[in-house]
Symmetry: C2
Subunit: 203 residues, 2 copies
Amino acid sequence: MNKRGVLIVISGPSGAGKGTICKALLEKHDDLYLSVSATTREPRKGEVHGVNYYFLTKDEFRKRIDRNDFLEWAEVYENFYGTPRSSVDKMLDEGKNVILEIDIQGALKVKENCEDGVFIFILPPSMEELKQRIINRGSETPESLMRRFTSAYQEINYISKYNYGVINDKVEDAVVKIENILVAEQCRVDRIKDDILTDRKEV
Amino acid sequence: MNKRGVLIVISGPSGAGKGTICKALLEKHDDLYLSVSATTREPRKGEVHGVNYYFLTKDEFRKRIDRNDFLEWAEVYENFYGTPRSSVDKMLDEGKNVILEIDIQGALKVKENCEDGVFIFILPPSMEELKQRIINRGSETPESLMRRFTSAYQEINYISKYNYGVINDKVEDAVVKIENILVAEQCRVDRIKDDILTDRKEV
């Protein structure tokens, strides 16, 4: 029997570095799979259906919403974006471990739909550092910068909805912590109990 | 501020190999501390108070029971054995990670007294292997052997009361899993939340 894979949700405030961490994790581990989002926006040059996004018509997207086929979805500037439940489930059923990189609002919706997911909140080393990172991204007016920072500051409250918090001081260290979390989760009694008690009956 | 250490309870049926695993963990990690039990039995030659056991009189032991100073205790052949709460708490408060090796009945009592402990159930690779290990220990009559095996078989049901299950196929592999579990536990939101939300206020 294939052991079900683990869904690892990497989330946190903007500027905490979740994208860099996911990239490093995927480069390091052939056996980790990135969840591919669906969208109704037009493909950009070089983007491949099923690799960068699943490109859907608005009609098809709405049908899938009605079929409850999204772990989460949102409408942004007249386009839809979402995480297809069926493709994530398929990978998990095949025993694959799946990484989902997503903002906090999205993660909280996923949590409602996926109880056995592992929710990891990526934290900046300090609030001072987060401010610097947002400043360094540039192209922000002082007002939008302040708004982004205030939002990140408030978003950290949501950590209490997550299972783990990982401080992104050095990317390599954060990656090692997430690797450890995955090994630990694979030992959690909730995930292995049924197999153990079945195996025992075979003697 | 000193971050509170983690209490790691290594438990499981007799023959699963919890002793070997604890020994290997302690040899590998200077920063792990073994919880020392208290007993009313006489010290054997070479045994040192505070190292092998805390040797107490029955009077002193009973007083400590009344003061609720044991995470668990039991009476075995007219002697008392127990895990002193105060010495474990002192180490945890100093930020030390503490290993407690204990049978299943003891672990379940500790769990009632120590909610933030990490309860790890050590499993034999298979029930067939467990039978072999019990047989290989020798000096058992067929009846006591059968009794021990039946007891181990039933005890595996208690895994559902634990946080993690680790199969002791190779000792080194089991040790690595427990190391990963410790790192993961140190990232658990319940353990770090207060620090994170306090740190944030300092900006």
